[in-house]
């Protein structure tokens, strides 16, 4: 069992928060990509990270997960260090980050989500395989269990990744653009899974590109452009003004953004 080691964080960060980021700065080749990020993720919510290309959205996730080094700052999960909370954290990387020609089946990939539970020196037992299959079924992909993953469509591959995350059975999920380039059926499957996770009291943080759907899919939003522009409930902070600050006056994006804001206003605050 993980021993409880508290991370030194200033008092304003909540210990109940599944993710607290304090003074995080990340640089690639000395070029800063994230500046002094302060963030407390609300519990039991679906959270979107939005921002223009190069805003550091993926980097924020990777830094939280310890995949890229931080130049400065602290990250805590429920007040604990990453090493102690790892078992409660799931991750869906970008689909393009892996080679889909890899010689494994859809079910094999989902089983990877169980490796932590299985432990070292052991193969995947029937019990874990069944658990993985149930996760594959949850995203509507059970019939493709034995398909080599290159023979799946992009949306199906994304659902396999989602099923693998479900197999991790985590309390906090990081998903890097799960909706990127997927078909309508997959988008619906992902939304269903997100809502199911929320109903079970889990927290999901997604890098999200489609501003139009932010008010519909998410409870809270973190607006990022090298630094935190705004963060909070969608109804409060997902405003025209904040979008303008985040996207810095790029007309095409602003256009999309104002649509989204108009829709959010028409629908009222997101029901919790």
């Amino acid at each position: 069992m993980p021993h409880n080691v508290d991370v030194q964080l200033p008092a304003e960060h909540s210990r109940k928060s599944p993710l607290s980021v304090h003074a995080m700065t990340v640089a690639y080749h000395r070029k800063p990509v994230l500046w002094d990020v302060e963030y407390d993720a609300p519990e039991h919510s679906l959270i979107a990270i939005v921002g223009p290309n190069g805003a550091g959205k993926s980097t924020l996730m990777k830094a939280c997960l310890g995949l890229v080094p931080m130049a400065a700052g602290h990250v805590a999960f429920w007040g604990q260090a990453l090493a102690d909370a790892r078992g409660r954290i799931g991750y869906v990387p970008q689909r393009e980050s892996v080679d889909w020609e890899f010689p494994v089946s859809a079910l094999d990939v989902v089983c990877m989500g169980r490796y932590r539970a299985i432990g070292w020196f052991r193969g995947v037992s029937r019990e874990h395989r069944d658990a993985a299959l149930a996760c594959l079924d949850q995203v509507g992909m059970a019939q493709f269990r034995d398909r080599q993953i290159a023979q799946l469509s992009g949306g199906q591959q994304q659902r396999v990744f989602l099923a693998r995350a479900l197999a991790q059975d985590a309390d906090l999920y990081f998903m890097d653009e799960p909706f990127a380039g997927v078909d309508a059926a997959t988008e619906k499957a992902i939304v269903d899974v997100l809502r199911m996770l929320k109903s079970k009291g889990r927290t999901v943080i997604c890098v999200h590109h489609d501003l139009q759907t932010v008010p519909e899919y998410f409870d809270a939003v973190l607006m990022l452009n090298l630094r935190v522009v705004a963060a909070g409930p969608v109804g409060d902070v997902f405003t025209r003004e904040n979008l303008q600050k985040t996207y810095g006056g790029r007309l095409t994006l602003l256009d999309a953004a104002s649509h989204a804001v108009a829709r959010a206003a028409a629908e009222g605050p997101n029901p919790r």
């Binding site: 995949l67 990387p93 892996v98 080599q148 290159a150």
Partner: protein, 420 residues
């Protein structure tokens, strides 16, 4: 001289004590190479393995010089292998340092380290040759391999390495595969990519060093790459891929060593590599992911599409072969053959008015026409194509609709009452 008889004797382990030793030892080396190489291939580190092989030369030379200096026999295998292993580790460190402190990419870093270290090795080798004690002939056999020099001790070493490599790969199969497939996910779930990269590196170094004597340092990369690449053509499952690569490596070593035992002065490495290459070539042609099955699948699809066209054309009434050929735009001889094959399978019958459909043919033709309509209706509805633009697209897709997709189409269209 009975060459074939000698070859069979060697293959069947009847070729005398030393030949048996060499054949078994080399086969074991092939197995280890296949296993370690599988993971190097999956992790996309094959080129890196090559750099390791070439960079062992200066290590071997330095070990020789140091041993001579301290009055030992320079050509003692354990000392030379230690030197080789040290050089491989130095090479790895150099590549990592270049990647870390410059903006060069891995391929460039590997190219620099590989060539510089090999060049250094060649210079040292020529220096050794000028020494009075310089038994460089012995060292030179490390370049291209000389299995005949193998002794019982060496074969035991190869056995240990083959066993160790296979066991390690088996025990850490899931972690090695996870790191190779999705490094980010692996690290996020607490599987250290660095640790398993080091493990993979150790496996590759072990095979490289063990292979110096049998295949030589220039060609040792071949037993790490070729068997896995050949195995990859046969399967897309990890559980079959790794054992198959081991099998191909083992066969390459076994057969290659048997052949080279007939001509002990020939560089054994080259013969072993050519054997592995033959396995690869045969796999490339006949394996499920190879050239021939792909061509066969294309041919079958073309055949099915042609059949479908004949059946559909005959739905509207009997036609003569010539008429069919004209309307389908094919040659008369091809069409005649198609029609005869369809008739033999009970889809058509011929009489004076030409060919017409049997009940079975009507059912088959009807199903094709229905697929066409389904797809056309879907395109008009969901892809917002104008109805007069739909036909060519439906024409192309109706033959490859699979049952899954047809059911899906039926469901969407039936729910809206658009399905007749």
């Amino acid at each position: 001289m009975n060459t074939i008889g000698d070859f069979l004797d060697a293959m069947l382990l009847r070729g005398g004590h030393n030949t048996v030793l060499v054949v078994i030892g080399t086969a074991l080396l092939g197995i280890a190479g296949g296993v370690a190489g599988s993971f190097a291939l999956l992790r996309k580190r094959s080129l890196f393995a090559d750099a390791l092989g070439h960079s062992t030369l200066p290590g071997v030379c330095v070990a020789f010089l140091v041993a001579e200096h301290f009055g030992h026999a320079g050509r003692s295998l354990p000392i030379l292998l230690v030197g080789a292993a040290c050089a491989a580790i130095v090479a790895t460190a150099l590549v990592q340092a270049i990647l870390r402190f410059t903006r060069l990419h891995e391929d460039a870093a590997i190219g620099v380290v590989l060539s510089v270290l090999f060049g250094l090795g060649v210079v040292l080798l020529s220096i050794i040759q000028t020494l009075p004690s310089g038994d460089a002939g012995g060292l030179k056999s490390f370049l291209f391999g000389q299995t005949a020099a193998m002794q019982q001790r060496d074969a035991a070493l190869l056995a240990a390495i083959a066993f160790g490599t296979s066991v390690t790969a088996f025990v850490f199969l899931k972690e090695l595969a996870l790191v190779a497939f999705d490094e980010g996910f692996a690290r996020s779930s607490g599987v250290s990519a660095g640790l398993f990269d080091v493990l993979l590196l150790l496996l590759v170094v072990a095979v490289t060093v063990a292979g110096l004597q049998a295949v030589g340092l220039i060609l040792v990369i071949a037993i790490l790459i070729i068997p896995p690449v050949a195995a990859r053509l046969w399967t897309d499952r990890l559980r079959r891929f790794v054992p198959l690569a081991a099998l191909f490596g083992g066969i390459s070593g076994w057969v290659g060593a048997s052949i080279s035992s007939l001509a002990p002065r020939q560089p054994a490495g080259a013969v072993i590599v050519l054997t592995a290459a033959s396995i690869f070539l045969v796999s490339l042609i006949i394996a499920p992911r190879g050239v021939l099955p792909a061509a066969w699948r294309r041919l079958r699809l073309a055949f099915r599409i042609a059949n479908d066209h004949v059946l559909k054309a005959l739905l509207s009434g009997p036609r003569s072969t010539a008429h069919l050929a004209r309307s389908l735009g094919g040659r008369v001889t091809t069409t005649a053959m198609l029609v005869r094959l369809l008739a033999a399978r009970g889809f058509l019958r011929g009489d004076r008015s030409g060919w017409s459909l049997t009940p079975r043919g009507i059912a088959a033709g009807g199903a094709i026409a229905r697929n066409h309509r389904l797809w056309a209706a879907y395109l008009v509805r969901d892809a917002a194509l104008a109805p007069d633009h739909v036909d060519p697209s439906a024409e192309a897709i109706e033959h490859i609709l699979n049952p899954e997709l047809i059911q899906e189409l039926e469901r969407t269209l039936a729910s809206e009452g658009e399905l007749a």
